[in-house]
Symmetry: C2
Subunit: 562 residues, 2 copies
Amino acid sequence: MTGVKHQKWWGWGVEGIAFTHDDKPKLAPFVMEKIGIDLNAPGTPPPAFDDLKVPASQLGDDLAAKLRDTVGEQYVETDDHSRVVHTYGKGLVDLVRIRAGDLPRVPDVVVYPGDEDQVRQVVDAVVAADGVLIPFGGGSNISGSLTPPPAEQRVVVSLDLGRLNRVLEVDEAAGLARIQAGALGPDLEDQLNARGWTMGHQPDSFKHSTLGGWIATRSSGMQSDKYGDIADITRGLRVVLPGKVIVLRPLPSTSSGPSVREMILGSEGRLGVITEAWVNVHRVPENREIIAYLFPTWAAGIAAMHEISESDASPTVTRVSDANETAFSLSMQKPSKGLAAKAGPILFNVLERRGWDLSAACLSYIGYEGAESHLKHEKAIVGKIVKKHGGIKLGKGPGALYDQKKFDTPYIRDFLLDIGALGDVSETAAPWSKLMNLYANTIRAANDAYDELGVKGFAMCHLSHSYHSGACLYFTFAFPPSTDVPAEQIEQYWVVKKAIQQSFIDNEATISHHHGVGTDHAHWLEDDISPAGTDVMAGLLKSVDPGRNLNPGTLLPAHREW
Amino acid sequence: MTGVKHQKWWGWGVEGIAFTHDDKPKLAPFVMEKIGIDLNAPGTPPPAFDDLKVPASQLGDDLAAKLRDTVGEQYVETDDHSRVVHTYGKGLVDLVRIRAGDLPRVPDVVVYPGDEDQVRQVVDAVVAADGVLIPFGGGSNISGSLTPPPAEQRVVVSLDLGRLNRVLEVDEAAGLARIQAGALGPDLEDQLNARGWTMGHQPDSFKHSTLGGWIATRSSGMQSDKYGDIADITRGLRVVLPGKVIVLRPLPSTSSGPSVREMILGSEGRLGVITEAWVNVHRVPENREIIAYLFPTWAAGIAAMHEISESDASPTVTRVSDANETAFSLSMQKPSKGLAAKAGPILFNVLERRGWDLSAACLSYIGYEGAESHLKHEKAIVGKIVKKHGGIKLGKGPGALYDQKKFDTPYIRDFLLDIGALGDVSETAAPWSKLMNLYANTIRAANDAYDELGVKGFAMCHLSHSYHSGACLYFTFAFPPSTDVPAEQIEQYWVVKKAIQQSFIDNEATISHHHGVGTDHAHWLEDDISPAGTDVMAGLLKSVDPGRNLNPGTLLPAHREW
């Protein structure tokens, strides 16, 4: 045993935890109304592992011996379960494929180095053998960055960073921590919290993603408005390349030419293996609050988020859901008792009498941190803006509930697959001036795609991650495919997903704000950064990896040579 | 005439403006005490232009015809004055060389394209002729990025962006402006201010540097704590490469792989010609104040700046000078009258009675912007921190004075050269935990270098640009060389400059926070970003510019092939 924890081979998260609607009486009617699926009908659970046909490992004896010599016998795995766990990320296509037992190319071996020196030796051995090396962190990628190219003839090695999970050092005088790349969110936060510090990085995948994965995909967290995206948080890096190690010391800022740090960020394994990083850490804040607000319309909510971003206030979280996502959130509520049970209906009644169309109402969460007097100052500024845009404050209760439940959302996709529906996400970022059109056109594109497929689909959206010049829009979509055949389901999925991604490009938004490029979004890379920009990126990859040994197939579109 | 304004061929800024000590009675005694130079002795003015021996242009007829066809006769200059203006930046070595008439390699032609299409044609023509292309903005570079390699045998073309000086578009709904790369600071701020907007970027070079130059060197401005470094401000780009144009649309954030935007930032002409950028712009603030404070010691000032950066306050400017720079600032004061004349001595008297050692006192400026109530909130937070560290508030008066005079400083180097002293700057950034050692060791390194040279030198420093994990330290040094021979003066300059830069590296700081690499700092690049990191950068440059046509010689150390 390696001691490294993994997610389910067939789905999100850990065995024994799953999404259930048993305690959410409003959900079944909601789902029936929106996508015509009966949550109470018998579902199809994932297959048994033993039913999978796993292709044999093609690991040659020489490389096997070299790997075992390097990391030790117990840290080289060639059994089917380990190899299958390392075959896919957790994108919707990954989930459908693994449930279908679709395993055209599985890593031939999984290696668990225990330190950077072992990583170096593994990288050198794989490149010397002209193999393919795929770094693996928490396995939570949803852009197709982890899957070996189906036609890959060379030996494929999955390099699992799971043993490199320690906070090595905290520079308390600078607010910096040196952390190994394989540390999962809870691992590193527990170690930091024990010393009074936090990184403050909370992506939805937090429990099952690693520091190295965050850096390699340009992750962003719920609190990025305060703590920054991972690109801001990451100050220093160590990255293993064939025959050498890039060492970038932690610097608050520098003008030392084109940023190598910003080349490693988002490199998805194509520019080597990140082994550790220096990251900004902060004292656990004195006070922390997430307050819920309600806006009469999506336009009012967006306008308020924009005005907050321009204001003197600097909240940690700015998030607003569209009417569909708000309705979905309300359908997810557990039954409340006593006063709480009455508060909702009473409030809604009051709002209706004030002229609100409740079906258009939009739920918002704003986060605050700092001294009590600072929270007061910030909440006063935000409160005025909310009021100006016709919104009302719901209070701390719903905010705290959201904060507790935020990491549970990804489990829903497996639940939907059980009952025969496909659900996934696409997120982007664009200037404030483009957001309303981007939103309307993308929802329309999803609905047109559903019509084209002749299915009853649903799409919802929230805004999060506000910047001076724009914000992230995060779309979630679900529909019951009109076929049981997995390959055809995937085709139908792509009709919807492509419509959404194409809408991003057509509306001057990026292909992804924080999920990376992978193979899923590579098709639009040239539209995003221009063909000449793609040339520059391809030239960089080729210069570092002339043999295409480092996670080939990700980042660049298929027709590109590198 | 091209209509493009240039700085003096021999020094900083425009003809008719020069530094004078006539209205600063305390300066001459201060300079005498610190470096033993008599400001009232007759100086040596710069030489006359006609005394220069300018090598003839090597521009061939074919390329000349092609350039004239492209941009028009009047926008192709081959006269000596134009070519000399485009030979050097304004580093100390540049200034000594030009005064000495040292012109080993002068651009053969200066071209002023009027639009991006002309830029493309010029770039293609120069590369087709295997020439060298050096983009030129305001000519204020002080790291040696603008000077043709002395031994360059190929035709050298200086591409002056000065005609591309317009704000093309303001996206008011997003807070973004599209601005041509050749716009000088005042040009673009005037155009923005007229519409109620500001970019807020104020480097010391503001009046004589361009947007394209800021981007190409990773510039930072006085107000970067609020507005961000140019790397944060720059959201979209257009960059001309041979045969193509990189187009990066303005995005608040993106996870589209290794950041091409962050490769262009700091590229110093080696990755093509920046023609325009989308930048963050802000409404001209309601209120703007710079308040001066005084700390009893440097350590107290640094500690206060650090605590402010960790606090709930977010001022626009955080700056503190060491005791030497504080003394220099006081020596630069004009004689005051009436009450003001008495206020200083009275205050100093009070402080001495409180136990201050006034020779250790450190002057600080903190900037605030926003609504009146916000300024009050922020000043209260900062005020408490200042008090905690033993500091006192001096008020708005000195702050406003500093704000008015901040762009005059670079003129002093020419004034010092007139009287026979060399003065220059070196700046860096490092984590907060390293700053005190970095400071002490760098001052010691400068003093050791003076001792080695047997000269009486002076070094001073300020902290500016605070980040979560660290800050910029900006050193200014001056000494009278022990020789009149320019080449020997440059050698002596390098003894001091190298000692300072080496101290940066030895104390875990970067080679430059915002002046770029150029040729002057390239020697330490491998120490800064590691040899493997330098490999990655070199691979990128080679892949984009296999013929070494784009500003070769900058960024990489001399022993590197690319």
